[in-house]
């Protein structure tokens, strides 16, 4: 909606109220731009229709890569240093699983972090203008996009849903 040039933020005391507001807003012409909150909430995620995260695919790929890298490293270094130690074969395939396992965990976690950074788009300092600091403390903030002229009507609508309308930084022209 390119003609929506303003954002209005309403703060709600609990996630059920915020989720109800999101549900009500979806019946109007004003789209919900964002919802911020201090804790994860199934009610809000459900109202927003948020799907399961795909970060697990990064983790899985990292794990598979890590296992083969660790196992290959153990095989490669042993093959390069072909000395029999304690009567064990140079290529002791079973103990090499330990190296493979540790690398599986290490690369799964590294890929998990990479996935989080990419999917959450962090660092995300440019999101801060639409953000209310109360949302890290004890409020759930619903950000609504609308036209400048519709702002009073949107505010009234959100107030009726139980939202608090913080002043004056609630309206920002950042689109």
């Amino acid at each position: 909606m390119t003609n929506h040039d303003t954002h209005i933020t309403a703060l709600f005391a609990d996630d059920a109220q915020a989720a109800a507001a999101v549900g009500a807003l979806r019946q109007t012409q004003w789209p919900v731009a964002d919802v911020h909150g201090p804790i994860p909430s199934q009610a809000i995620s459900g109202a927003l229709g948020i799907k399961k995260s795909g970060v697990g695919w990064f983790t899985l790929a990292g794990g598979v890569f890590g296992f083969f890298l660790g196992y290959f490293l153990a095989v490669f270094t042993s093959a390069r240093w072909g000395l029999i130690v304690s009567g064990k074969p140079v290529l002791s395939y079973i103990p090499f699983f330990i190296v493979g396992f540790e690398f599986t965990i290490l690369f799964s976690v590294l890929a998990n972090v990479l996935g989080l950074i990419l999917l959450m788009r962090l660092p995300a300092h440019r999101d801060l203008p639409r953000y209310r600091p109360e949302c890290s403390a004890d409020r759930f903030g619903v950000v609504v996009s609308c036209r400048q002229g519709e702002a009073p009507e949107v505010r009234r609508f959100l107030t009726e849903l139980g939202g608090e309308m913080p002043e004056p930084a609630d309206t920002q022209r950042d689109l």
Partner: protein, 437 residues
């Protein structure tokens, strides 16, 4: 947990970050002096050689390995609390999870110093890394010592990432209340976290995967540490019980350290409403459980030695309980297996004084457990003419003092500069219980 509003949770935790008083800096300065003592002893050892320590033939591993295993063990319950209990949805973990994770990170850092110290020629440490080199030598991945390098490095990296990721939402809380330079620092640290539900969606999933990956890791790491001994053919070491025995012992010692750290912390920061008696009592109950496992392992070792009818094995275990290190052995048994049983009595496990005293006893007992395992087996090896003795030198005591001071120094710095209680997890707990305003 009693009813707390989100604002009260934030206020309590943010109050811990107020500028500290003179007493705090005095303690920090004293701990730093202890770190310097340890560093000076290590420097002296580098100067004169590894013989500055009391290791000898046949007791080639002394307090450096004892302290290494001790600190790795301390680290483990941090992961138990932050990852395993997270997967089990144990609500009582939330108030202490952050401090326990921090304990893990600093304990692994402290443990990681000891292989360097024990190397003697520390500048040769790169020999352990699998990098192409002019010697055409590669690390031998058939050795449990190399498994250890991989396992401990992985554990440190995973613990630090898990710790930092868990703090992101809390950094945002502090950022939003701070001003000036502090605000700038926490703006950078929080990476612009805003609590958007698009962020929560990935964060919750990623955190769950972190916990799921850290759980097998924590079990593998101390199993690998145990194989440093179990894969050697020394009597008393070469046994399959070592991996579960070490993992249980690690969690036992770590839980005791959690109590040792939490009890003063909740008092100093007036966090009794968050770190409640129920939380401490739950830790105490878990210590009873791990203490029983450890006690069972001690008994099983003797049973295996007797049942095997192996004369060398029987001699080593007889030596442990009646020989030169009998005092250390009985300290171990009493402090780790018998004293924790006092927690069966509700009056004791709900008394701050008793909880603190027993946690200290278990810490001492677990240090001596490592002493008994590492020293006594090689001191009474197969051949009587190769038997030996061991006593730590002043240099070793200095380095040990330095390691304890380093751990507490880092922890003291942490509790005053970063959120030592997870505000987000406490809020989630209150929200699930429906008790917040």
């Amino acid at each position: 947990m009693e009813k707390l509003s989100f604002a009260e949770i934030d206020n309590t935790v943010n109050a811990t970050l107020e500028p500290p008083g003179r007493m705090y800096w005095t303690v920090v300065a004293l701990l730093f002096c202890g770190v310097l003592v340890g560093a000076a002893c290590w420097g002296w050892q580098i100067l004169v050689g590894i013989g500055a320590g009391g290791q000898n033939s046949p007791v080639n591993w002394g307090t450096y390995l004892i302290n290494f295993v001790f600190w790795v063990g301390i680290a483990h319950s941090g992961t138990l609390i932050s990852a395993i209990l997270y997967l089990l949805r144990a609500g009582w973990r939330n108030p202490i999870a952050r401090a326990a994770e921090t304990m893990t990170v600093f304990a692994v850092c402290t443990a990681g110093l000891f292989p360097f110290i024990h190397l003697g020629r520390v500048w040769m440490v790169y020999y352990m890394l699998p990098v192409p080199n002019q010697r055409t030598l590669w690390p031998n991945f058939q050795s449990p010592l190399m498994f250890d390098v991989v396992a401990i490095s992985t554990y440190l990296i995973v613990s630090v990432l898990f710790w930092y990721t868990g703090m992101l939402p809390d950094f945002a809380v502090i950022r939003d209340r701070a001003a000036g330079v502090r605000k700038k620092i926490f703006t950078v640290l929080s990476l612009g976290w805003t609590g958007r539900y698009e962020q929560w969606r990935h964060y919750s999933r990623g955190y769950l995967l972190f916990a799921a990956l850290a759980t097998p890791l924590v079990i593998s790491v101390h199993s690998v540490v145990s194989w440093d001994f179990a894969l050697g053919v020394a009597p008393g070491w070469h046994t399959t019980i070592f991996a579960p025995y070490f993992v249980a012992g690690a969690i036992h010692s770590g839980l005791a350290m959690v109590l040792t750290l939490m009890i003063p912390m909740r008092r100093i920061f007036n966090a009794q409403r968050i770190i409640t008696m129920h939380v401490l009592e739950s830790v105490a109950k878990t210590i009873v459980f791990t203490g029983l496992i450890v006690g069972f392992a001690y008994a099983t070792e003797y049973f295996i030695a007797w049942y095997s009818r192996n004369s060398v094995e029987m001699e080593v275990f007889a030596f442990r309980s009646t020989g030169d290190f009998a005092l250390q052995y009985w300290i171990m048994v009493i402090c780790n297996s018998l004293v924790p049983l006092l927690f069966f009595i509700k009056r004791i496990r709900t008394s701050i004084l008793w909880l603190f005293a027993i946690s200290i006893a278990v810490n001492i007992g677990m240090w001596f457990e490592r002493f008994v395992i590492i020293i006594s087996s090689v001191a009474r090896d197969f051949l009587p003419h190769a038997w030996g003795d061991y006593a730590p030198t002043g240099i070793e005591y200095g380095i040990m003092l330095g390691s304890f001071c380093l751990f507490f120094f880092l922890f003291f710095l942490f509790v005053k500069h970063l959120p030592s209680i997870s505000m987000t997890e406490i809020k989630e707990l209150q929200h699930q219980a429906g008790t917040h305003d």
